[in-house]
């Protein structure tokens, strides 16, 4: 290998010699490269270079029109000092609980109760229904919940029907409930996903294991911690990655339902980045938020990835 490489770069081969193996390999390599070149070009032009530009933009003060001025790390300092930006990152922390921890906890609990549901009749129907929210456009989901949370919407109507009139309120317009209401949509979205994921994971466990455990007189809890939970490690990792990343990226839902309001109570980083870049002319600040958000997402993905059991890769 080293010899051919040297031949290639050193041009020591006499001119006019028969095409060498190195040359043929180089042609084959070039041809193979042509297969990936268009995809590479798309990735570079539309994803990679703009991402690097985002980092560059974040060091400037720019309103999107006039000449940008150098700002150094001021935009990053602002993320810590500016209350509005700091809050947006805190809010996303709350959303992670609703989008990720709650659905995973609920789904695990249910999996414990119904660990052998995959063998039941009608399971494919339930799987289809539980997974349904995943395929509906986020904008449609958002308008749906906007209607449910509205003053005379489904939620308040239900509360009145069961005599809890005192609890009714404008859920998305109330400082105390807006963020939780947005978060609950995430719980609704992700419970089904986690449940489908975990039930399919339990389906892969050999039934003999459960039977043996029962013969040995294992309790339901012992069965869960001894067999089910270890078997689900891969699925839990996937569920964590998916739901945490989706909560960090929350944008569509906030844009449609609250635009960050009331006040600043539901603003999230993705919304701040959009709003500052395209509405309020603070492109540099928007870029710095995007950079922090991206680094956060990549770090968390990498950290969760380390939980993944090695043998499944």
């Amino acid at each position: 290998m080293t010899v051919t490489t040297r031949l290639r770069s050193g041009e020591t081969r006499p001119a006019g010699a028969a095409p060498s193996r190195a040359r043929r390999r180089r042609v084959a390599s070039l041809k193979a490269f042509l297969y990936v070149a268009p995809a590479l070009a798309f990735s570079l032009i539309f994803l990679i270079v703009p991402t690097l530009q985002t980092a560059w933009y974040s060091l400037y003060d720019w309103n999107g029109l006039s000449v940008a001025t150098w700002a150094g790390v001021q935009n990053y300092i602002d993320i810590v000092q500016d209350e509005q930006l700091r809050d947006s990152f805190m809010h996303v922390g709350v959303l992670v609980v609703f989008y990720s921890f709650l659905p995973i906890a609920i789904a695990l609990l249910l999996t414990m109760v119904i660990s052998r549901a995959h063998a039941l009749r009608g399971m494919s129907f339930f799987r289809t229904v539980l997974f349904l929210p995943q395929v509906i456009a986020s904008v449609v989901i958002a308008t749906t919940w906007l209607s449910i949370y509205s003053p005379n919407g489904l939620l308040n109507t239900l509360l009145r029907a069961i005599g809890l009139d005192s609890l009714t309120r404008v859920w998305l317009g109330d400082f105390n409930t807006a963020l939780v209401s947005v978060g609950f949509v995430g719980t609704w979205l992700n419970v089904g996903l986690c449940l489908v994921l975990f039930l399919s994971g339990v389906g892969n466990v050999q039934p003999e294991l459960f039977e043996a455990a029962r013969l040995d007189g294992a309790s339901g809890l012992q069965e869960f911690f001894g067999i089910t939970l270890p078997a689900l490690r891969g699925q839990i990792t996937v569920a964590l990655t998916l739901t945490v990343v989706s909560s960090l990226k929350t944008f569509d839902l906030v844009y449609i339902t609250t635009r960050g309001g009331p006040g600043n109570s539901t603003s999230v980083p993705a919304f701040e980045a959009y709003n500052r870049a395209f509405n309020s002319g603070q492109v540099g600040s928007a870029a710095s938020v995007a950079v922090v958000l991206t680094i956060g997402i990549l770090l968390i993905t990498a950290l969760i990835g380390r939980l993944q059991p090695k043998d499944t890769e």
């Binding site: 193979a32 052998r116 005379n152 489904l154």
Partner: protein
């Protein structure tokens, strides 16, 4: 393995409760959509079914135009993504070439990056190139995002393709390109179809890229159209519900027919990252 009757009942009960939890908001939308349109009265079971909201949403909301835009964008993205993913996936799985690791790493980065990472400069780049406010501004970035997934999907598929068959074709003197399209692709059609379904769903449902890239009404895709429609008819929930159903319907119908592909595709696709 046998389940006792009690276990069965508990299991069904839990499944029914959570299926209802998933369905109630969606059924609420359907009921709202067929209720007579009005902005003051609240949610209640309708006395009669009224499909007028669909007609009104369709006419007043320009949804025919938005659906056409969505179809143009989605079909173009699917076609280009499929061709390029199949070729690149084949190269990564079956060909050796200089720098393949670096190229693969670059494409991997594309899969992990959130849209927020690149959308701001991308808008200004495309604006400088006079591409914003055109279908291209919707299609090209969407292809770039879809390719990241498509290449991984096809590479995994082609790596499990029996190597002897490919060797035999090569010995018969078939070129790589011919081996790919005539030997490898035909038996891989099911997995290519799954990829197309997922790309179709993501493209159809995409919101941020159209929101940023186009301002002209006639270029809006269906979800973006709904967002603007919601801005204008903020509290007319019957109209909004009808419009939402119109937009969600194509993908939901596909999903009901091909739910196994959707579910396994989404779960496998995510797991393989």
């Amino acid at each position: 393995m046998k389940l006792s009757l009690g276990e069965k009942l508990v299991t069904y009960l839990v499944l029914v409760i959570f299926a209802a939890f998933a369905l109630v908001p969606l059924l609420g939308v359907v009921i709202t959509a067929v209720s007579p349109s009005s902005s003051t009265s609240g949610f209640r079971m309708p006395q009669s079914i009224d499909l007028g909201n669909f007609v009104e949403a369709w006419d007043r909301g320009h949804f025919a135009q938005y659906i056409v835009s969505s179809i143009i964008v989605t079909v173009t993205v699917i076609v280009v993504t499929t061709v390029l993913s199949v070729m690149a996936g084949f190269a990564f799985a079956r060909l050796k070439f200089f720098g393949s690791n670096i190229v693969f790493f670059v494409l991997l980065a594309g899969l992990l990056l959130p849209a927020e990472a690149f959308i701001i400069p991308l808008y200004f780049n495309l604006r400088s190139a006079h591409v914003t406010d055109s279908y291209w501004a919707l299609i090209l970035p969407q292809i770039a995002q879809s390719l990241a997934f498509g290449i991984f999907w096809m590479r995994n598929q082609f790596m499990s393709f029996p190597g002897e068959v490919i060797e035999a074709a090569r010995l018969d003197g078939a070129t790589d390109l011919r081996t790919l399209w005539q030997i490898i692709v035909p038996p891989s059609i099911p997995s290519i179809m799954t990829m197309c379904l997922l790309v179709a769903m993501w493209t159809w449902n995409e919101f941020l890229i159209p929101l940023v890239m186009v301002t002209q009404d006639n270029l809006r895709t269906a979800p973006l159209g709904l967002a603007f429609f919601q801005g204008q008819h903020a509290t007319d929930y019957s109209l909004l519900a009808a419009a939402g159903i119109i937009i969600a319907a194509p993908i939901v119908v596909l999903y009901f027919f091909l739910q196994k592909r959707f579910i396994s595709g989404m779960l496998d696709g995510i797991s393989s990252r």
